[in-house]
Symmetry: C2
Subunit: 206 residues, 2 copies
DNA sequence: GTCTATAACACGATAGAC
DNA sequence: GTCTATCGTGTTATAGAC
């Protein structure tokens, strides 16, 4: 009650603090106390509002992970493989640049083979299934060239998701920090080159 | 004393158990007790032989991570970018397929932003520096085509290292399990396509 | 809804016997 | 070198007061 101006309620504050801290330290590396301290909440409130640390994790994804109709505005481009793959790369990377924490947590949980991956698979697979089908149809239509669909799907995902490790490879870099738009453009070029396809909106039509 | 036949000594047994368990559950997700149970050793021996859990981690890499002269047999190929990048991809992936645990642990630590990454950087960077320099020289010599060296290095690494997540994406796969040699060949084709370079030992010369 | 206080347990490390 | 027993700390979860 009396929701003080724009102040989010304590439940939301806990979720936001958990998002930040899990991304920074991992789920297991973060204690309920740390989350509550950061949220300015009492330790007992995680149990009260979510029913324990594990359910807090679940609630985090229910709250912040984009649902299926995030791709609705791009329905048209996603019908044709030649544009669709570029659209998937662009929109996915834009989402990650905009709010990196959720995808960081997902990658951590995957690498840790955590018991929580099924939660993640259920939410993420609908998107990757779109990408997979675009690759497959693109090959059938002669737009893309590759031998193995599964291996290629992994490499395309690797090409676009490995940027999360930039902080680690930093000491190896020779150029300055890159702008998100440039990284996205470079990624689309890279992947389309790898698939043996012309870059959409270039050369041919202009 | 009396090193019973081919039985490794207890120190080595602890290291091997740690390698397996850290890869499966992460460093923080694995307890010293679990490691010692798996090694058939007493809990106190980690402190005695290594001086604590953190030093066990360090010892693990001193013992199992390949040192600089692992690339010595390939000195000749590594002089020319057009062959060198393929050699780096092939040898790195062969190592990972042969003994995946160490590289799994490395990727986990990187994703977790653990305080142990400096140990890993020190060991891994010499290899990635070779790859980076090959990409740079390849571009100068007109063999490779790309805009940003740093972004490209990340994408090449992503293309070859993302396979570790195959278990997670399994439910999305349409084809059966791929042979390591096929995956390596596909990766080299993919990367060379992305770099706008002809695949080494194909078309032109045959 | 929110708090304090505490239960119940697991962790890494080690002292000291053998 | 290897063991047992234990210390000190930190964890999640919750009972019960407000």
């Amino acid at each position: 009650m009396t929701p003080a101006a724009n102040e989010p309620d304590i439940r939301t504050k806990i979720l936001l603090a958990a998002k930040t801290l899990f991304a920074k330290q991992g789920f297991e590396g973060t204690t309920v106390r740390q989350v509550c301290d950061a949220a300015g909440a009492n330790v007992a409130l995680v149990s009260y509002h979510f029913g324990g640390k594990d359910n807090l994790f679940k609630a985090l994804f229910d709250e912040f992970f984009p649902n299926g109709d995030a791709v609705e505005p791009f329905r048209e481009q996603l019908r044709r493989p030649a544009e669709g793959v570029a659209t998937m790369i662009e929109q996915t990377m834009r989402y990650i640049f905009r709010d990196p924490d959720i995808s960081t947590i997902m990658e951590q949980e995957i690498m840790m083979r955590s018991p929580r991956i099924s939660i993640i698979q259920e939410l993420a697979f609908p998107f990757w299934r779109i990408l997979r089908d675009l690759l497959q149809r693109g090959r059938e239509e002669g737009v893309f060239r590759f031998r193995c669909l599964d291996t290629t799907l992994l490499m395309v995902l690797g090409s676009m998701l490995f940027h999360k490790r930039a902080y680690y490879f930093q000491p190896l870099f020779l150029e300055g920090r890159q702008q998100p738009d440039d990284v996205i453009a470079d990624t689309i070029r890279y992947v389309y080159g790898a698939l043996g396809a012309p870059i959409p909106g270039e050369a041919a039509a202009r």
